[in-house]
Symmetry: D2
Subunit: 104 residues, 4 copies
């Protein structure tokens, strides 16, 4: 699915549960930080080599995928309620970083 | 752009700077948590109404968009190095949540 | 207990479990971010008034206290392995902030 | 200083600036997550050995100490507004963990 289609899927999910009143930008940014913390926790005791092999264990791989989905879902919801075009924002940031970090 | 196209853009950006050795899953998960914290910081002292109007101030709006781009970029890089299909992961998570939180 | 006594308690706890090899500064900083995310999650859907009353519910109050203890324990462990005097660091930061944010 | 004395120092600092209205539990938990993210960012690209030597560079050492002070200050403020005894909470969590993770 495209980013806008995924946003539509999530907006419908929230609407059917009347969760719109909870989905203020502040609350969504806070939920995103919480999920990013949970994703980081999956890697916190791993050394670099172990972190590269984290997907070899099916249960761990599923946990990582679901935490990544949680991060993405709150980011997409936040972009939706703030009317931010994530694709354009990312390309703008990459252009800024091209100037800040010139390639060799 | 599609999610895979954005991932390609970011992978090329990293490759041209020889940043691949820094982009272990552990480091990317940690960078993602850091950026999510910076995004949350944009909202930390706002009340719910102020948070809904955060994009009315152009400078603040730009800061929020760029923090969101940072979060997305590390999430896309992490998905790339772990070979996670974010679109499929999100749809799987939504399906799980349909069961956990039945709509009225 | 004083901060150094709490640090000694935590260091002994870790030593008896041979956890010292996991407690690199990087891993502890990552664990701290994870716990801070879990603490934030306790408040993410609350409005300001509800957040002020969060300790009225005994089960929720216990969860909040235990998440705060987790954050403190990783902060104290990190200070211990980096040989940072947290008391002195906090007083230095307050002195810096006295200059940055003059009181009326 | 003891933990209660540090809390008094921070409460006075906030009171003299009329910041009490911003220091809801929700806002403080969010600020804590933001600072924990900034602290994590100091370590995000370091390998385990580099992270152990992070305090050898005076500028980096100062940045790390100040980020740790920020985390501590929001944790102490949150404990103050929620009337949580951090010392008791930490010892309770250690007692729980003694049961969950028996030492050899």
């Amino acid at each position: 699915m495209s980013i806008p289609d995924l946003q539509k899927l999530l907006a419908d999910f929230a609407d059917r549960r009347d969760w719109g009143r909870f989905h203020t930008p502040k609350n969504l940014a806070m939920a995103l930080a919480g999920e990013a913390g949970e994703l980081a926790a999956e890697f916190q005791w791993l050394d670099p080599r172990e972190s590269a092999e984290v997907m070899h264990d099916p249960a761990k791989a599923h946990a990582v995928r679901m935490e990544m989905a949680d991060v993405l879902s709150y980011l997409l919801r936040l972009a939706d309620v703030l009317d931010v075009d994530l694709d354009a924002a990312l390309r703008e940031k990459v252009a800024i970083n091209e100037g800040r970090f010139p390639a060799e």
